[in-house]
Symmetry: C2
Subunit: 697 residues, 2 copies
Amino acid sequence: MDLRKLLKPRSVAIVGASEKAGFGGDTTRNYLKFSKNLDHLYFVNPGRDEIFGRRSYHSLLEIEEDVDLVILCTPQKTIIPLLQDAARKKCGGAVVFASGYSETGEEGRIRQEELVEEANRLGIAVMGPNCAGFANFIDGIFAYAFLVEERDRSGNIGMVSQSGQIVLGGLDSSVMGFSHVISSGNSCNVKVEDYLEFLVEDDDTKVVAAYIEGVTKPAQLAATFQKAAQKKKPVVILKIGRSGKSQELAASHTGSLSGADKVLRAIFKRYGVIEAGDLEELMGIANAFSWLAELPRGKRCVFMNVSGGEAGVTADLSEEYKIPLADYKPETREYLQTLVPVYGSVNNPFDMTAEIGYNVPVMCKAIRAISADDQVDAICIAYTITPEVWDVTMFRMVQAVSIVREEPGIKPIFWIPFIEHSRHPESARMLKEAGVPLLPCGRYGFSILHQVLEFAAFKYEKIEAAIPDCHPAQSYGMSEFESLSFLEKQGVPIPPQAVAASHEEAIQAAKTLGYPLSVKIHSADIQHKSDVGGVKLNIQNDEELCRAFDEIMENCSKHAPGARLSGVLLKPMLKPGVEMIIGVNNDRDFGPMIMVGMGGVFVELFKDVQLAPAPLTQKQAEKMIQELRAYPLLNGYRGNPVCDKEALADLLVRISEMAARNKNVIKELDINPVFVTEDGVAIADALLLVYGDEKER
Amino acid sequence: MDLRKLLKPRSVAIVGASEKAGFGGDTTRNYLKFSKNLDHLYFVNPGRDEIFGRRSYHSLLEIEEDVDLVILCTPQKTIIPLLQDAARKKCGGAVVFASGYSETGEEGRIRQEELVEEANRLGIAVMGPNCAGFANFIDGIFAYAFLVEERDRSGNIGMVSQSGQIVLGGLDSSVMGFSHVISSGNSCNVKVEDYLEFLVEDDDTKVVAAYIEGVTKPAQLAATFQKAAQKKKPVVILKIGRSGKSQELAASHTGSLSGADKVLRAIFKRYGVIEAGDLEELMGIANAFSWLAELPRGKRCVFMNVSGGEAGVTADLSEEYKIPLADYKPETREYLQTLVPVYGSVNNPFDMTAEIGYNVPVMCKAIRAISADDQVDAICIAYTITPEVWDVTMFRMVQAVSIVREEPGIKPIFWIPFIEHSRHPESARMLKEAGVPLLPCGRYGFSILHQVLEFAAFKYEKIEAAIPDCHPAQSYGMSEFESLSFLEKQGVPIPPQAVAASHEEAIQAAKTLGYPLSVKIHSADIQHKSDVGGVKLNIQNDEELCRAFDEIMENCSKHAPGARLSGVLLKPMLKPGVEMIIGVNNDRDFGPMIMVGMGGVFVELFKDVQLAPAPLTQKQAEKMIQELRAYPLLNGYRGNPVCDKEALADLLVRISEMAARNKNVIKELDINPVFVTEDGVAIADALLLVYGDEKER
């Protein structure tokens, strides 16, 4: 859908314009106060001839020229007739503030469907319903319903939010500058994915910030994220739904289903989309990118403090937020030592002492020397900026930063204050002009610095998403033998196996496989083989094999009456190793997601799993394994042999490719366990769930 | 040491008083500007007759009356002669700003020792050296060297810090009100523990906040914490040293050793001392207690929002910060439903909609109803307070809160904004007057609310600390048999065991113990018995026993040549269960610390251990076990039997009591593993390290 008439209209009509408080009046006042050009603005109100000294039309149809955008401040029941009028004025966009739609239950949901149908028929892109509107600071269009303080908010952050209040939060922030802010509300025929795509493509937007509750166009979302990753344009998203309670609230708020939360987070990670945990983080991260002159080339940071105590706090926080501390080259250290008093010591975090912090030329020298060190990627000044300059050290440090940033080759600089404050406006302005983000205080600042450094270091590997074409309702499970055979045919390495329906077949198979063997019931109807006595391990010879065969058949006849017994499955006993599990779950939005974790209690108790969309590159697979907290167990833990991690990564890649190829076939795959040893990997058991009707196999 | 002349002086002399910038001038200006009573203030400067229009004395000895406190703004080499003069004026306290002491290395350390000696000889309590001074807002004495903005800072927070800059951070905060702020610097003959004790005892101080780098008087610290716990006076501490880097910095900053960081955190926990992670948390927590009208009776919270989006964020953050959401009683829910529009739903977090938030009387009704619900312990409004009132909802909500707080029986109310800001001063004032803490934004606010609720719920169980009287340099290890026998004599239950030096003794012992048995080498010289072939398990009969005996003796002669072999240790095979480890480590400051964790990789990889000072009460032991992340494994995980956790807690208590009794005897104890089953606990192995010279046994 074309959003140009909606977001960049040439002519605008406010329907329900008014001088009174409320949606109509507040929108009118906001528009007059904050918009750049009022030449093609029209007020419509059947009861008024004039509003704030401007002509008021009694109907859209009275307006002489065509109208690109209508802003409807009127109640729900008036909306469809107004859209019909608007269409006759060649309107292509509408903002609908009215509530009473999908957020109110079944009846409202039906009303919203009617609205979507009519808007589509008329070719009008609708923002809302149940939204707060938008502001386009590039073209100067302020179609937003909540009153805000008067001040320049133009900049390069594009923000879209399913909550109008959260847009207001952004507008309330004293530091943020926007290209566009959009309150998408219930997302009728224009979805949050459409706005995201617009903002990612928009050249006036340097960084995209979004608050989302759910996803309705997964393929478009993935494609938009991919586009952003390729352009290296940062996208920051606050997605509620980490807790069950917030998932519940999202459903009742804008009627969206939050979907599988973990899946969406894995998608974010794939494309380097930055996740924010709350509003302050959302805004702080967006603002960091907005102000930052250029991205750091690496993650190694030098922190500069003017207090031993604050340097200590900085050390603790930089470790907590995984910000690597740069090691100075010896010549840098020696030079800095000449700048501090004799008792001072050059460290990182670097307690500069007042000798440096208080002295603009010396501070400039220190920053230049640190910046010239090729072991340093970024500099962060950690010092509180107070609302007024009573502590001159602060202002001198700001001046020094401002001076050096004019010079070529200076590395990116960040600033983190220690306490929450409004900041001294002149200092903030100087830092902004110098391209030095003034981050929020303390933990927020360190967390945001970490996120910016991670984004800068992120390398997107292009890989096609495997979004399924269909979502069949029915599925059925395969037996272990069938599951393993399926994997094998798809190029996934599996240990040798054979099925046998008689003693003779079993003995014959044992000749090829070699003892010792494991023997399990072969039946598509029995999932939990041990529970029905269907497993015998460590079988050493023909005699034990025949006995095992008989006992298994007898046990299963008794404990699983009615199950079709097709004989037994024979496999050589595997060399035990570190037990891992690998799973595939075909998400209805984003397709097959691959999961890896350490077997046993690790997965369940410590939630130590990694999840990513299939397919994977070798590097992505390696990273998933390395990011497991139990990774040291694979890597020569306590004198154990180092496991063949490359083989494990390779197995993950093959499974992921198989899952992507079979995105319309495989519903679930559970490989549990796979043994990893110094010699390689061995899948011990697998269960496959495939789409389709079992009766039609 | 008596601190009254230092912190509450009747007469004060500033030595080195001046009109120029620098320590002397800034201190003089600060004193004149912020102190209440200048009647007994004297300036001393040998080169001046008048300073800021007041007489300047050329020497302390010229002053007519006695001087309680001298503030020395002069360099290091003048300090001891000035203290000697001061002593002749019956001085009892001195503030020493000068640096050049223990923070500068060995020579400085010696200078500081001389200072301590002289100050003690003269009976003068010295603040510093290398400090920034103090302010006593109760008596109006401002002996602080850094300039600050002019504003009323009096209140009920008592703050002490080893960093002067961090005191300045507190003074910079726009919300905090203090009884005392103290920059302790290098802590010469008055330690941070002395100031803490003063503040805990001081009736003008409602909450104590401290920044500390190290501990030098552990017994006094523990006693002070105990006093605070008994008075239920909150103590909030920011202690750097979580990272190795910050431990290093602390050593070079004020010359203090940070000690065993984890031990100190366990001590905090024992006494309900609240730990802050950075400055904003330190100040935010202190300020929450400072403003709060009364402590909540429990932890169940209702959150009130005016936005679905913000309610979702609130839900996620309340889960993340472990704040239990209250369930309304049905009548509360029904009543609230009458206050919201039809489409609104009553939930927690409660999106009140503008119908309530915008309407003062209705908002009052909602708060009253929620407050009257006995399933609710506290209320938290989560809404941004902007610097100006352009969003009237905000101000109306503040008004409503302010009105209801006047009424009897209203539960404690907190306020968390979503973004960092300076706050509308009038709203902040109204909330402070109403006893409603205005917390810092977002994550900080939720984390602080959690800490306040935890403190309110904390019940201190009085128990005597076991701080050792001596720290012997030598120690030696006991054999497993000796270790277990020691435990048994001390009332710790251990499984039956016997030692045997011959086949005959072994067979005899087996008769009593019963097969199957484990057989291990009995030698004080062999710690890792398996490594030398010194262990045989699951021995079934006399014949196997004799063979095991011979093999073990042979293996150990071969692989541990020279070790004294005293025969073998026999024990019945234990029923396997969940493997735990229990350890004791005798901290040189705080005595025996007891550790419990799940055996194997859990302890090392997931750091899933709990640490506490010995002795423990049964409740404390139970809590330690419950707080293990692997706790579900003991509690009937995946259909396994529920383990006897009471027996495990009882074992912990007995070991802790033994460790406390033997605080001058035991250096270390390592019990690994202890098996926990549904029937109880069984110690499988133990190694004891005791103080003393092995040769003198």
